[in-house]
Symmetry: C2
Amino acid sequence: MAEFDSAEHPHRRYNPLSGEWILVSPHRSKRPWQGQQEKTTAEQRPTYDPTCYLCPGNTRANGAVNPAYEGTFVFDNDFAALMPDVPVGSVNVGGLLRAESESGVGRVICFSPRHDLTLPEMTPAEIRRVVDVWIEQYQELGARPDINYVQIFENKGQAMGASNPHPHGQIWAQRTVPVEPAKETVQQAAYFAEHGRSLLSDYLEIETKEKTRVVLENEHFVVVVPFWAVWPYETLLVPRRHVQDVAQLTDAEKDALADILRQLTIRYDNLFEISFPYSAGLHQRPTDGQAHESWHFHMHFFPPLLRSATVRKFMVGYEMLGNPQRDVTPEFAAERLRIQSDVHYKHVSA
Amino acid sequence: MAEFDSAEHPHRRYNPLSGEWILVSPHRSKRPWQGQQEKTTAEQRPTYDPTCYLCPGNTRANGAVNPAYEGTFVFDNDFAALMPDVPVGSVNVGGLLRAESESGVGRVICFSPRHDLTLPEMTPAEIRRVVDVWIEQYQELGARPDINYVQIFENKGQAMGASNPHPHGQIWAQRTVPVEPAKETVQQAAYFAEHGRSLLSDYLEIETKEKTRVVLENEHFVVVVPFWAVWPYETLLVPRRHVQDVAQLTDAEKDALADILRQLTIRYDNLFEISFPYSAGLHQRPTDGQAHESWHFHMHFFPPLLRSATVRKFMVGYEMLGNPQRDVTPEFAAERLRIQSDVHYKHVSA
Ligand SMILES: O=P(O)(O)O[C@H]1O[C@H](CO)[C@@H](O)[C@H](O)[C@H]1O
Ligand SMILES: O=P(O)(O)O[C@H]1O[C@H](CO)[C@@H](O)[C@H](O)[C@H]1O
């Protein structure tokens, strides 16, 4: 029999950050697709939309009026999933029905007053302001005794449940540490205890040597399609220096983060020449007062598109009941992203 | 401060089958929705479609011709994610890049020759034939030394990635046990070791007493919206008798399973008067030769719709980076399902 070739044969890959496996089926991308097609929404948006609840000066559903903001703008989510003042209580029936009240804060971060922009179309200085807001919010919310984890994220595009195209992200900050960062806490701590180095430092060392999964590098950050990526064009953005959270970044690192975010999102948009949908977010040390020395701050990008602007990957049946499955290899995806131009397709003069 | 009320206040619930938590935000269902709307596809399909690769007598993409089948029809998936003959091999770079070749079998199960039907529109006897096929397949594939887990599932509807509306399910059977049943194996074994009874037997006892989450019951099966449901109208179908797999079901139990499947899917369709999309599947004992006494066979139904035929729940941003979150309580969802008629809306004479 031929030798095992991960570019060709079905296999499983292990995610050391979560401790879970995924199934990779490289040969399967050839199957015909007669299923759902994503809508490609009209690209021309006005710079200001009087009906948008995030544009400067507009009135929101709850009657509040947005200021005439010029950079970023943060406000408490009018329909937050988390609330600060929740009566403390719990349920426990035979260890099988268990519930606990949960408190927290939900906020919205407008990235720009311009309704028509997205991160890849903003300037490095404008993106740097978004980075600064992330840091401020992480520090402010993380300092509260009732907040032990701050989840900062962005849902971009209708395919990812974004209910408004105005460039914005969200913060859900809460009393307990959610499941995914809790898994990463356990895995990183175990690795650190054994090796005395952060899991992601050692991982970056391997990736920057192998190069096959590296999408982008600058002085302070590396973007890879992780070896264990689930979504077709999933990426992991990691600082070279082992820092536990964004508050520890130097000024140069903050600029480098803004720079690489712009570079990455431009390549995403260029891949299928469309405003590329994704959910992305920061994973960093819980704000529960513990040192979490093993934590290595990073960002995940989870984009759903598979083959084109209209054909997405569905994480359904087998994926929900078994485990995630992907069709193209991470190495293939990394190469496709790497070869994209660093000029946004909308800005290429004909 | 008021007392904690799980029908009103944000809280976390624990899933004892997976060992993970979810966030429940009962108050949040009121938020306005301006995002993506699902397409409601035309309901009138022909009984036979000459372009469908699952209809009797038609030629498939690989040139094979379907027989003129009259009940169910099973064949090897022409674009399977798993293949039986994969060269054995693995990768391990510093414990951080880990891969293993994976072998297995992918099959398609046509539920009916009729292109226009779905489970809720089939007769109990026709659904019973599907149950029998599940049992045959589980036994046949499970007996193979190279197959240690048999995942039987159905993706229904475009919203769930189904690429063909012809009523059908799939089987992905493989060498290793996927992540989700592996978690359930650990959790059920721990419970059984402590209590000497299956986790789901004790859980059913609580639910059939409390009644608030019960959707349907017959002599042999119970359907509940589990206390820890993630999807808005997620359900769990459990046999009253503690059996490890479908092969142990008695004749009466097989009939009862067909009956309750029909009852459940009729109520799903009636909820929003649409052919209700979902991914569903069987979870049962791994076929690795071990006894797995603690395993209690069950089925999961994961439907995406939230508020209507066109507004779905998105498991994005926070859900991907933190943990699943739901807006309506399981108790609310169970009641909505319970009050639906047991006559399919298409069959109600005006
Ligand atoms: O096999 P199908 O129906 O073409 O594909 C569908 O089900 C599979 C198993 O859940 C998924 O991996 C695919 O993403 C989905 O589109
Ligand atoms: O808060 P939004 O943008 O209304 O809602 C979106 O993001 C949330 C957080 O990821 C999800 O819970 C919702 O399902 C999604 O539609």
